[in-house]
């Protein structure tokens, strides 16, 4: 290849590196995408190759969250594409700027029964913001530019670009493929001044206000704006989803500690709720938790402003920008008494859970397990929880001073179990100097535990703590409630030595059955320097509040 010519595959890599500053691509190799993989070598992009394309999509999704830049995954045609679909749907429902580059059968072989010939575009369109096929190697930079803009502009979301091998292997004159100047727009939509003033009046007269920040806070990365706003208004706040950690959990006005129970205990008595970048969906019981409050909703997508609950005032725009616009209109207030009341009530509502955390138990209670993990790593770490009941205990018990320091990706709208290990791997790649711990249910561990091979090959020493109740706990306990203990179906898993599986893949593993073994085992896992699995046998009879809510959501049908 002469200097003036370049292959389509190399052109893809060059664009990613030089125009979008992409350092990592999450992938699994395949013949159709070989030219791009080679281009990544040429342009010094780190390829994290995984064992299932679902994980490539989930890791790229997580990379977006941890770095606040679009994550890129590269998958091959056919099964590579279909395997990635779960991860793409998850990103779609969580509004994450995931850029999916995908192989395709050759255009030359359309309708001939080519290997992996299928209509990928029609399949992926409903679950992406934008999906297209590039047919001309000279337009590769243009298509990639559109893909990144679509992923990040307005409300973010996944995009899908299909690249046939005809164009990836084709060599063209570099000068014939113009690179668009990189254009990344932050939305400049501004609410009406009268609406901003109305919102400020409500905030200024509030006696028991609460601010809840969701993923829109995280995507806006508006920690400074949020800090100025809460410090001036004195409003206590809870940050959830990808908003968690934009301000640290140990901020004096933070209500994030205590997880769902903590927030749910006080929301019904709040007189004003400021919801920022937060959808009122199933996870938030469609806003029913605070039926009598005046509600100010801030969202980048105007269709969310009255969804499931009519906002008293709806403000369209980027979370940080709207908070900045509100700042001069709101008064300096002190809600210390309300904050203290909220926290004391929260403690009273969590009586049993707080007791369980402090007491050694046999068998081990999952709340106690989380407490023991926290005692080792503290809040200068990144935590991920994955599972059903496991997600509840992780959200409730973990805290971190870091942005996205506590994530429960399985608690999103897709309820996508198996996200824990991919998210933990991405967190460790993004923050190699910090401990990264994933608390996995034994059921959810099964989906992507083969990725410990990825962790070993790429030297990504995460620590996975398996909350092993030998069952699909949330389903089992729901069935016990609805069907009866003697009719549970497909919800038992049995005792398995997951730690030996990880050892077999080259990691570190230990089995723990006693409370006093938890901390020493975690310390040995850290000392090993390897990706580790601590398989902790926990009380199979424990049911979390999340299970009750899950059951109740069907109970009224």
């Amino acid at each position: 290849m002469s200097k003036s010519t370049i292959s389509g595959g190399h052109l893809v890599a060059r664009y990613l590196k030089e125009n979008e500053n992409i350092t990592h691509v999450f992938t699994l190799s395949g013949g159709h995408i070989e030219a791009i993989l080679d281009g990544m070598t040429e342009y010094n992009i780190t390829a994290i190759d995984v064992r299932h394309e679902q994980v490539a999509a989930m890791m790229a999704h997580a990379w977006s969250v941890y770095n606040n830049t679009p994550g890129v995954c590269l998958v091959t045609a056919g099964p590579g594409f279909t395997n990635a679909l779960t991860g793409i749907v998850n990103a779609h429902l969580e509004n994450v700027p995931l850029v999916v580059l995908c192989g395709r059968h050759p255009v030359r072989d359309d309708l001939k029964g080519a290997l992996q010939e299928m209509n990928q575009i029609d399949m992926v369109k409903p679950v992406t913001k934008w999906a297209a096929t590039c047919y001309d190697p000279r337009r590769i930079p243009e298509y990639l530019s559109i893909a990144f803009r679509q992923a990040t502009m307005g409300r973010p979301g996944p995009v899908f670009l299909e690249l046939p091998p005809d164009i990836l292997f084709a060599e063209i004159d570099s000068s014939s493929a113009p690179v668009p100047s990189r254009r990344r727009h932050k939305t400049a939509v501004r609410p009406e001044t009268s609406d901003l003033e109305a919102a400020a009046r409500i905030i200024n007269s509030a006696q028991k206000p609460v601010l809840i920040g969701g993923s829109g806070i995280g995507m806006s990365d508006c920690g400074a704006s949020l800090k100025s706003f809460v410090d001036k208004t004195g409003i206590p706040f809870a940050l959830v989803n990808y908003g968690r950690g934009v301000l640290p959990d140990d901020h004096p006005l933070s209500l994030s500690e205590g997880g769902f129970t903590g927030i749910a205990s006080g929301l019904p008595v709040a007189d004003v709720v400021v919801a920022v970048g937060l959808r009122f969906n199933w996870v938030l019981q469609s806003g029913q938790l605070f039926p009598d409050a005046k509600v100010i909703r801030i969202d980048i997508d105007p269709s969310e402003l009255d969804r499931n609950m009519t906002a008293t005032v709806g403000l369209e725009g980027d979370a940080g920008m709207v908070l900045d616009q509100l700042l001069p209109l709101v008064e300096k207030r002190d809600h210390t008494e309300w904050v203290d009341t909220f926290k004391r009530a929260c403690t009273a509502f969590m009586t049993t859970e707080l007791e369980k955390r402090q007491q050694p138990s046999d068998p081990i209670h999952p709340a106690r397990l989380v407490e023991q993990v926290m005692s080792v790593f503290g809040n200068d770490a990144y935590y991920v929880a994955d599972g059903g009941d496991t997600t509840y205990y992780g959200l409730s018990g973990f805290s971190s001073v870091h942005r996205a320091g506590v994530l429960i990706p399985a608690g999103g709208l897709l309820g996508c179990l198996g996200t824990g290990i991919p998210f933990a791997l991405a967190a460790k790649l993004a923050h190699p100097d910090k401990p990264v711990i994933v608390l996995n249910g034994d059921g959810s561990f099964g989906f992507n535990s083969m990725e410990f091979d990825t962790a070993v090959r790429h030297n990504i020493p995460i620590i996975c703590v398996v909350n092993n109740d030998c069952a699909w706990g949330m389903i089992k306990h729901s069935q016990e409630i609805s069907l009866g203990h003697d009719r549970c179906t497909c919800s038992e898993l049995g005792m398995r030595h997951y730690e030996k599986m990880v050892e077999g893949l080259g990691g570190y593993g230990e089995l723990v059955t006693k409370d006093e073994e938890i901390v020493p085992a975690l310390k040995r896992a850290v000392a090993s320097g390897k990706p580790a699995c601590i398989n902790v046998v926990t009380d199979p009879t424990v049911t979390s509040q999340a299970t009750i809510l899950f059951y109740q959501s069907f109970g009224e049908l």
Partner: protein, 118 residues
């Protein structure tokens, strides 16, 4: 004594509603919930047992429960319960007069159930 009467009266209301109130009957028809209301010293206690539409009760404070409102004293319990709202419960908890034991989500379910008959 007033708390004892209030709790017994509450049971009577729940039982009667389970026979006559259509929306309440629908709300409780699939529920298996054991809701305890008691004082810290155990002198006053009533467990409301919801079992797929049927409601029974016992007065033993040591019975297993899904959620318990454990009051510091019967006087506060009486006055707060009479107000019949979550805000009063919240402030009682904040003031140290009430602990919510077990799973608070069941207490919220109980509150929602009461909403069908009050």
């Amino acid at each position: 004594m007033r708390l004892k009467i209030l709790l017994f009266g509450l049971y009577g209301l729940l039982w009667f509603s389970s026979k006559t109130n259509t929306s309440f009957k629908k709300f409780i028809r699939k529920a298996r919930v054991r809701m305890m209301i008691r004082t810290e010293d155990g002198r006053y206690a009533r467990l409301f047992i919801f079992d797929m539409g049927k409601i029974t009760t016992v007065t033993d404070p040591d019975q297993p429960f899904d959620a318990a409102l454990t009051w510091k004293d019967p006087k506060t319990a009486f006055s707060v319960l009479l107000k019949q709202n979550m805000e009063a419960i919240f402030y009682a908890a904040a003031d140290g007069n009430l602990k919510i034991e077990g799973m608070p989500v069941y207490a919220q379910w109980f509150d929602a159930a009461m909403g069908h008959i009050m």
